[in-house]
């Protein structure tokens, strides 16, 4: 699976900093441009980027603890056996 790259790499932004632990290193930038603001989240260890809009971020805030636990499962998306399991494993309801 690939992570969506940004459409517009040149958008100026305020670099908020790097959030790092021994397990991950991620750069977070607040970008203001186009018709609104977004958060640029970059995995510095793997060169992948995700853009998050306000509603997506708000949804993260409201996501239940179980959902977050599922998200941390390496098999959920990034390290899955391609073609050997269901395309997307169903998430438990809540």
């Amino acid at each position: 699976m690939t992570v969506a790259k940004g459409d517009d790499e040149a958008t100026p932004g305020i670099e908020l900093g790097v959030v790092a632990s021994e397990f991950a290193t991620v750069k977070v930038t607040l970008e203001q441009g186009g018709s609104g603001a977004r958060l640029r989240v970059e995995d510095l260890r793997a060169d992948a980027v995700r853009y998050l809009d306000a509603l997506e971020l708000e949804s993260l805030v409201w996501a239940p603890e179980d959902w977050w636990r599922r998200l941390l499962d390496p098999s959920l998306h990034r390290w899955r056996d391609a073609g050997r399991g269901p395309e997307i494993e169903s998430l438990p309801p809540g």
Binding site: E22, F23, R69, R70, D73, P74
Partner: protein, 441 residues
Amino acid sequence: MTTTLGSSRPTPEGLRGLVQPDRVHGSLYTDPAIFAAELERIWYSTWVYVGHVSEIPRPKDYVRKTIGPQQIVMTRDTDGGVHLLQNRCAHRGNLVCEADRGHSGSFRCPYHGWTFSNTGDLLGAPFNQGYGGREGLKELGGLATVPRVGIYRGFVFGSLAAEGPTLEEHLGAAAERLDRLARLSPEGEVELTAGFVQHEVEANWKMLVENETDGYHPQFVHSSIFSISGSSIGDLYSDKSTAVTRALGGGHSENDLAPEFRRLGVPMGWAGTPESKIPDYVAQMRDVYGTETGDEIMINGSPHIMIFPNLFVAEIQLFSIQPLAVNRTVQHVTAIQFKGAPDLNRRLVTQCVGSVGPAGMLLADDAEMYERNQRGVEQLRPEWLDLRRGLGRETTDDDGYTIGTATDETSMRSMWSHYLTLMDPQPATAPQESTVEGAQA
């Protein structure tokens, strides 16, 4: 009587022969088989001090700690609960956490990517079809947790045994000393935020435990620093001192210096810090506790207590003792910090740094003695270490505890008596228990 054990496992009878009321056998410090038995019967069964809640203030904080040679990760869950996990992946046993501390709600093993929550649950493994998909993960384990975690005044203790006395029972009278320590903060809380010096010594861990409340050694081991710094600490441990050595039961002991501090009668006199240097702290203490109580707290000072088997609070510094081998021990040392007392805390850090650690003007000399002592007891004769000092002049205080003078070996005798009850849970002869250890809390 058997006085040497060879390399076979020590039997209860053998141990009883080695630990006597007035002497202990040298092999207790040198025999790898005894060390192995100690790990099992003491370090992996009784309550052991692990860390302090202030080291993981926020949810998802974690810090690496130890219980003897065991690697532990102390974590804070989203609800604020404290967990002790063994740092060993459920897959093939890799160390999961490498950093000394960090902030992460989950841990991903670097070997094959198994991912665990900070409470130890397995959250997933990469390419899980090899385990029959997500359902199959239920068969796989998570990180092992330390079965019992207890917190007293922010001090986190762990017991690797599922059953046993409660932490309160284990601490007994020691708990009140931790209360006394915490009261020195205007907010009633100790914080361990200064980080740790790790000082290794080539000596058996019991050399350290015994030395911590040995009031007989300071005049000799530390005379160099006492003589040039004009410190009066040496006088606290003399034949004229009104301080006492007290056996608190459970292997715990203290040098109760409060009588001497009260004689001084000066707030913070025990810390060698005049009121004028820490006006904010003194004012706040009087404000919070009232002038009379505040002054009393500041005059009585901080405890000097060895909480068996590994937590030593020496007024302004805290030591955690970690045995690694029969002749290898690490002391993790930090300056105690009092919440809400920034001016005092800075002084405590600089004072502590001068005294402790590998280059410390006090502790390097203690360490030298541990190491010489270790090499000494490796010699064949006279086989025994003497424990008689003050045996004939012990008394019982109002609370029923056995006390000796400031320089007596009361604390060591009580440590060994408790040691025997842990190493040999069913003693054949009970009498030495009551005569040596005194009252229990």
